[in-house]
Symmetry: C2
Subunit: 497 residues, 2 copies
């Protein structure tokens, strides 16, 4: 519980219009893109790094949890305040401070929406590639917290590859500047990348320096359907083997295709077992050559349907299916668990086979789609009811999936982060020794554990050894409540559904 005196102190820092402790506001900031829910005691909307610093000094003195939050679109429970405390809603800090076209560098605040930033730089003939599916809503600060990816990251890399420097506030309220605004920098430890993907557990980002690229001159898109997953996977391998790295190389399995077609009715081949969405970009002349080369590879590998797009209108049409996946799946099933595993791309068919086996074994359904070029597949477990016995099947199925992924040389999260959802499995993915190192860093920088407590690391550290590591307490799926938030309230938080 936070005392009235401390509440008053915090209200003064942010101003009364940016301090909230009414139940309505607390509910609005109690969840993210998962189904986890937990209310904060206070919501604060700081205006600048100084205010964040003051809040953290108070919170550190009083040992109050502080959870930084962007748009709340995260898929691992990262911004859910599971121990209550203060939610720092960073949405007021949403200025694009400057875009330096000569040096291809942008300075932004963390609350800037990813898509708005992309559009702003594109107007200047520039390009910021990371494009998570939530890009219409998610913030650049949130992207940094989770090291967000997206379809373009196959060719262009993830968020970490575009951050040159950060301003961040640490648990003790000190404001640090990491990296800089230049392309090369080896002045001490890489604190920039230590903060990226640290999910708000090490600091609150208050300013971001981003690297930009020239906007590719041209783009061409291909939609190719295959009768078997193996043929689609062979096509992916053949494209890479021909020394081509497309801008995107997206995949949907047969279940996903059917669900999307039912939703959109755009004539997708519902008998196909796998669909690839491939985009090449670059100089006009080079794009034409790559496009023809990939069309030929798809034909040679037996694509049962093949559509090409040259104009931006045609391109938009082909992307419709990929963009509708999440909404289409949400429509047929009240609860889906969006997993985010990665394997070496050549292991993709093996992964899909394993997923099917696991689903059969545990009597559950899945729809799989994602970034085939990266080997980063979103395995969506479709849960048809919230009945306890249905939910109980999922946990051991996921555990088995994670083990298979690690056996295939993969990792348990490519884009979504560990958050609360996968904290129990961190050691499985990263190794017990590495987790120990991470904990030492966390303890050194946040000794009172006020920054986003309960995230990344499992609640019970002592169980993090040997086989036990994956049997340690995990947030029970059955404890995830229904989402009782009204549509209006959700809108206020997320901007849209």
């Amino acid at each position: 519980m936070i005392s009235n005196a401390v509440k008053e102190e915090l209200r003064k820092i942010a101003g009364k219009d940016n301090f909230f402790d009414e139940i309505e506001e607390r509910i609005c900031y109690s969840y993210d893109g998962t189904t986890f829910k937990s209310k904060p005691d206070i919501v604060l909307k700081p205006a600048n790094a100084q205010e964040v610093s003051h809040v953290l000094k108070v919170a550190n003195r009083e040992k109050i949890p502080v959870v930084p939050r962007g748009a709340g679109t995260g898929l691992s429970g990262g911004s859910v305040p599971i121990e209550g405390g203060i939610v720092l809603a960073m949405n007021r800090m949403k200025k694009i401070l400057s875009i330096d076209e000569e040096n291809l560098v942008a300075f932004v605040e963390p609350g800037v929406i990813n898509e708005e930033f992309q559009k702003e730089v594109e107007r200047r003939g520039l390009f910021y590639p990371p494009d998570p599916a939530s890009q219409k809503m998610c913030t650049l600060g949130g992207n940094i917290a989770e090291c967000a990816g997206g379809p373009h990251c196959l060719k262009y890399g993830v968020t970490r590859d575009y951050v040159l420097g950060l301003e961040a506030v640490l648990a003790d309220g000190s404001i640090i500047n990491t990296g800089g605004q230049v392309m090369k920098n080896v002045s001490g430890y890489d604190l920039t990348r230590l903060l990226i993907g640290s999910e708000g557990t090490l600091g609150v980002v208050t300013k971001i320096v981003l690297k930009l690229l020239p906007l590719p001159e041209d783009r061409r898109t291909i939609l190719a359907a295959f009768s078997t997953m193996e043929r689609a996977a062979e096509t992916v391998s053949a494209i890479i083997a021909s020394r081509l790295i497309p801008a995107t190389l997206e995949f949907m399995d047969g279940v996903t295709v059917k669900v999307v077609e039912e939703f959109l009715k755009i004539g997708l081949p519902t008998t196909a077992d796998a669909l690839l969405l491939i985009e090449v970009d670059g100089k006009k002349e080079a794009v034409e050559i790559d496009y023809e080369k990939i069309m030929k590879i798809c034909k040679d590998k037996g694509a049962v349907e093949l559509k090409g797009a040259r104009t931006s209108g045609e391109r938009e049409n082909l992307w419709k299916a990929r963009r509708a996946v999440s909404a289409a799946l949400g429509r047929i099933c009240p609860l889906k668990l969006n997993e985010d595993v990665v394997v070496p791309r050549s292991k993709l068919p093996l992964l899909i086979t394993k997923v099917k086996e696991i689903c059969t074994e545990f009597g559950i359904k899945s729809a799989n789609y994602g970034h085939a070029g990266d080997g980063n597949i979103h395995v969506n477990i479709l849960i048809e009811s919230r009945a306890d016995d249905e939910m109980k099947k999922v946990e051991p199925a996921l555990e088995k999936l994670y083990k298979e992924v690690v056996n295939l040389g993969g990792t348990i999260s490519g884009e979504h982060g560990i958050g609360f959802l996968k904290s129990k499995y961190l050691a499985l993915g990263a190794g017990v020794e590495s987790v120990n190192v991470m904990r030492k860093i966390k303890d050194a920088l946040d000794p009172n554990n006020i920054l986003n407590p309960g995230k990344i690391f499992a609640v019970n550290p002592s169980s993090l050894s040997g086989e036990e590591k994956i049997n340690s307490p995990r947030p029970s799926l059955t404890k995830r409540g229904d989402n009782s938030l009204s549509k209006g309230a959700r809108k206020r938080v997320r901007g849209k559904e």
Copy 2:
């Protein structure tokens, strides 16, 4: 001093053929590419991570400094054992373990020579871009310790952008695996990038997983001379403004051109005040277009001489001048201090003006060259004698240079690292608060400070505050001894001079 009993213990770990405590061997491992010298007590050549782990356990117990070393080509004193102890020479661990062509990933040991690795992947039509000037000798492990760059890093990024995962041994002897072999990974803190550029102060890298690219189909090179630095800088800006990112965009100032021409006699325009070496790569058709575009920009900006290369032989000729810079400068002057500052590329003419002003003020000479596209310039202070009064001028001149660089929005090291040479200036470049965070991480992971002590951080931490930070004790230039090592002995360590 290390007791005989401990020496015996260490000898047993590495085997008697890989344990050295004779003065000849100790001298061979007493220096790097700077003029610092300090002998280790023992040189050990481990064969694998287990041996490294055993050595570190003993060293940690006995509080003996351990300095990992690749080829000793570093330019910041990073591998010089300034507090004695054990040098871990990693050269025996030099296997390319595997190259996975399907997933574009390579597994290597840290002692692999950069150029040998590049050639091996090129034979398979693949590409590993980071290409420091010392690439014929330097090791991939050393590249990781310093986050090495090179001419290709303008378009392709630095070492950090190509490391997917590491195996490393920490101060307590624990062996950790960071990252993985997949392109995306957000499973806890980014320990991979925390180790990269940490200069051997946090761990000893024993295995490396590298990302590869397809080899560009074609390359074209342009050599352009300008009568003034301003015109060369305008050309750089015009190229980037035309939304082109060449593979390399190298620069030499007039002094450097003259010195190189005297050395090579290849007809360089010695009246030019600035020379640019520009290379474009990619698909044949796109390269042709970029090449013509850049030729036109150079002409429009008034290049006084312009040479293009289409064949690899012609290309090699143009690169000769750039590659000979270091040797040519070494020839005319007994001691040069190779600085490594970075500014936003648009600030390049300002930086060069400042360098000239500083040189005039302190009565010293400089030759400047480097990576214009990155704004990463090697300011070489040419020291004509080791007389005390000559040396004494250099220190305040460098201090002034660093301050100017920071004022211009730059950083004090782009490629060479902080090491011993710049430890006093770390806070100037990174900020006092960030340095405090780095120290906390170092203390948490290496509480006995056995891993490469005296590097990155200034010897006297208490002086690291406010203005005082740049007046704290720094290794005095006058203490750098003559290099008394025989030519034969040097050859044995470095492979070549």
